[in-house]
Symmetry: C2
Subunit: 534 residues, 2 copies
């Protein structure tokens, strides 16, 4: 056998690996159906269909779970790992690049298949079924409890969910060799560990309270920007949003913008769908929401076409996903450079005069950088947002550890809220009843919001270093080079890196840290923040 | 064992039957996803997603096919039939009624499961795959061939499809004990046989040419109705359509009205979706289209909730489905009674004066009953429509029999068109290139349009007999009793009857015939058609 033949044979995928690709491709297409049906549920579905739709989605989820945990999948995973061709290539070059050889992609794909299989197999089927039932009940109980500001009404359902999640965390931790809470984290952000988050959040908690205090004092000493006079016709808001999405690089032939109660980014391959909720009285809130979702959408549209039906071709994790939305919204679109590009378009869209001070770049920047101690996470600015997340992180860790009873949540929430944000909720509706996450079973998810904010700042600094004309480009509305950089650094490498840190290390030279985020806040909100700073 | 216990044991479903219900329910939910994704593809999907969406739909179709033909499904079908509890109950009472005992529903369900399994298993997997590939190619080739009026460009793809369909017809016929073309018919309309259709169509062909001639002569002797002055704003057209849909009984909490290039009725359980295409110059064409689709939608919304996830709970066949759309559009909504109810609403929607002769009930009736020898099937009136169908039926039988070569289609089409409709297409675009059916592999489908028209007339006569105030109710916009009758006679019995004839016999006292349709045409278009007739 000639040497080249030997090498070709060595790099050919094993039969077992090829079977796995078929299994996972099929599962991918089921997932596409689930995603599109979920989008439709939020955006279009008539109310009378909610039960029928839930049944269909549940059936697809069970089918997908069965495919993943099937005996055949297990056997082929074992066989493919024994064949070893893929495993040998894993991290051989240590390189995470779109143009890595297929052998490297395949090795990473096998690793991701194993990861998904391990997570899905870790909890017993009866527990998975019990959780799914309890979470559907919890979701419903939360909706009415929040509407009526009646936390006690939620206690039974949430207590059951916490008990089942603790059980799942223990089972998953046992199977995956992780601490229970880490096993939950790992579902949303592969590789995330509480010890690491503790350290990052401790750094944040150490400087944010005083920093916020100072920002608010400086802000109080300045005149407030004049308010924008509405109403702003919704059709014009939509057109403006689509124009800016397109400018940022959103491919309108492979996606849509629609309306839903809660904005999100969903859809399927070549069909990435953003939603927003317009208000006639203010256009900036919906618009910033659209630009945030555009960051998510650019990630999805930039996943490698050749691998997107395989686990390795999907987005890396929720923290990195959030880094992309916050990169676009916070790092780019709330910058003065972007606002100087956008302000003339705002004026044109709504027929405002250039000399109107409410429509100046300064006024837009002042409003976009306004900081406030508020009760509601989703309305929080980027300075106070981490405190909202740290609060939830602490409480959910205590719930999962068994150190906090559900009934004690309102008191603990109010206390932490006062300590971390500096305000106390007058009612549970604006306190511990505000988020759907826990009642729908999402424990270990909250930290990813702030990990994403840290990653966004770190990636922006790397982009600045790589692209010397970045801010001039942004100010002139040219995002092509920036999008190209994000494609190479994040979008196009999908899950080729084993975790977000691997991708960040390659893209920024360091694992996730707090420094870049801190520098970002100081530049934008600190005492030396010049009117001309980004 | 007490006698009641014995009876209970006898009527309990077998374990095999229960397993089958699980398999078919799962397949049902997959089908729900396919239907919703197909709707989305026609209505919302961005153009760039067409390849990805086709892949997902193909994967779901293969998965669904595999579930149906799986070894386990076969075995459980055999076991359930051996257990015999269900089979014994089949037609025991001969009664087809919504409130039939569960044992009767289950027996019919098992019969339908076997039917689906037999159809799906009849053609070898390789042939199914080859067909699906050829049909996707044929669909694309047809689009460009039609756009460029280039039939020769379609010949290779269509020749391959015909060859594969002949093979499939032979294989299915062999497996099902049917003649090849009958096996194709049976896919769309269970129980339909060419010998029966030959007889029905011969009756139609015997009276329609002279009848049409007479109608056109009478029509030419009358003054034409004044045209309606547009434009008609699309938003008002939509509101009007939704109002009339609701009046007819369409439940807006369990369905939607949207826009697509080709109008259709799709969607899922409790979520039935109609589409239309508006034109500003004329509102009646889109509106009549909506009312036609409303007939389909009422059928779907009226399927029995307890059985709709099972084969027996689905609509009976394409002929009966078309009977519902034609019942609503042709029998009801084009009646003078309905137009006298609707005309004031038309005037109100578009701000017309009651004394304007173009907006009178007479003018609407004259336009709604206008007959014309045309080239295009989908634009044809109810008098000339059957000729369009008979033409296609004859040609597709010849294609499947091997008596007509694809290359000879344009000539045969033009010749038959002249003989049956009395016009000759000047080009293939308005001739044999007008329909997507054959290039997408649908042979045996065309006859169902006219079978549906016959059934609609027959059902309307039965409804008149059952509901003495029918036309007064229609004229006053009260459709509740009529909908109730359709629910009991057709919608609510789903596929409990083995074929459409069984349902028609129960509802009208006779199997499908031509007489009621002929009487309908004579009443509306004949020499004695009074101005006051329905």
């Amino acid at each position: 056998m000639a040497e080249t033949d030997q090498r070709a044979a060595q790099s050919a995928p094993s039969a077992a690996y090829q079977k796995l690709e078929r299994i996972f491709a099929r599962r991918h297409h089921l997932g596409q159906a689930q995603r599109l049906l979920g989008w439709d549920q939020q955006v279009l579905m008539p109310e009378g269909a909610s039960e029928a739709r839930s049944e269909t989605l549940a059936e697809l989820a069970v089918l997908s779970h069965e495919m993943l945990t099937a005996q055949e999948t297990s056997e082929q995973l074992d066989a493919a790992e024994r064949a070893g061709v893929e495993a040998e290539q894993d991290n051989a070059a240590g390189e995470i690049a779109m143009d890595a050889p297929d052998t490297v992609w395949r090795a990473a794909n096998l690793r991701e298949m194993r990861r998904l299989h391990a997570h899905a197999s870790a909890a017993p089927a009866a527990l998975v079924a019990a959780l799914s039932k309890a979470e559907a009940k919890g979701d419903m109980a939360w909706r009415s409890a929040r509407a009526e500001d009646d936390f006690p009404a939620l206690i039974p359902a949430l207590t059951e969910i916490v008990a089942l999640q603790r059980e799942a965390a223990a089972a998953k931790g046992e199977a995956l060799g992780l601490a229970p809470y880490d096993a939950l984290l790992d579902q949303y952000e592969p590789g995330a560990r509480a010890a690491r988050i503790d350290a990052l959040f401790a750094e944040l908690a150490a400087f944010l309270p005083d920093f916020t205090e100072d920002v608010l004092a400086r802000q109080a000493a300045r005149p407030t920007a004049p308010p924008l006079p509405g109403p702003f016709p919704i059709e014009r808001q939509r057109q403006l949003a689509e124009r800016l999405m397109a400018a940022l690089g959103f491919d309108g032939a492979r996606g849509r913008l629609d309306v839903s109660l809660h904005p999100f980014c969903g859809g399927a391959d070549d069909d990435i769908r953003i939603t927003t909720r317009y208000a006639e009285a203010d256009f900036t809130s919906a618009l910033m929401g659209v630009l945030h979702e555009t960051g998510h959408a650019l990630y999805e549209q930039g996943l490698p076409a050749a691998w997107r039906a395989q686990p390795v071709g999907r987005s890396r994790g929720m923290a990195l996903h959030e880094s992309q939305s916050l990169f676009v919204e916070m790092q780019i679109c709330r910058s003065r450079a972007f606002l100087s590009f956008a302000a003339p378009q705002f004026r044109e869209a709504f027929g405002a005069a250039p000399e109107d001070p409410a429509w100046s770049v300064d006024a837009f920047a002042a409003r976009a950088h306004r900081v406030e101690r508020g009760l509601i996470r989703v309305d929080a600015d980027e300075v106070t947002y981490p405190a909202h997340v740290i609060l939830r992180y602490r409480l959910e860790r205590a719930l999962i550890a068994g150190d906090l009873a559900v009934a004690d949540l309102p008191g603990a929430w109010a206390e932490q809220m006062e300590a971390l944000v500096g305000v106390r909720p007058p009612e549970d509706r604006t306190g511990c009843l505000q988020d759907i996450h826990w009642p729908s079973g999402a424990f270990g998810y909250f930290p990813t919001y702030t990990l994403g904010a840290l990653a966004a700042a770190q990636l922006r600094e790397a982009a600045e270093a790589a692209l010397p004309t970045l801010w001039d480009d942004v100010a002139s509305g040219d995002f092509a080079a920036l999008l190209g950089w994000l494609r190479g650094a994040v979008h196009g490498v999908a899950s080729l890196g084993g975790d977000s840190d691997a991708i960040l290390r390659q893209a920024t030279g360091a694992p996730l840290g707090v420094d870049a985020f801190r520098r970002h806040l100081e530049q934008r909100y600190g005492p030396d923040a010049a009117a001309g700073s980004p």
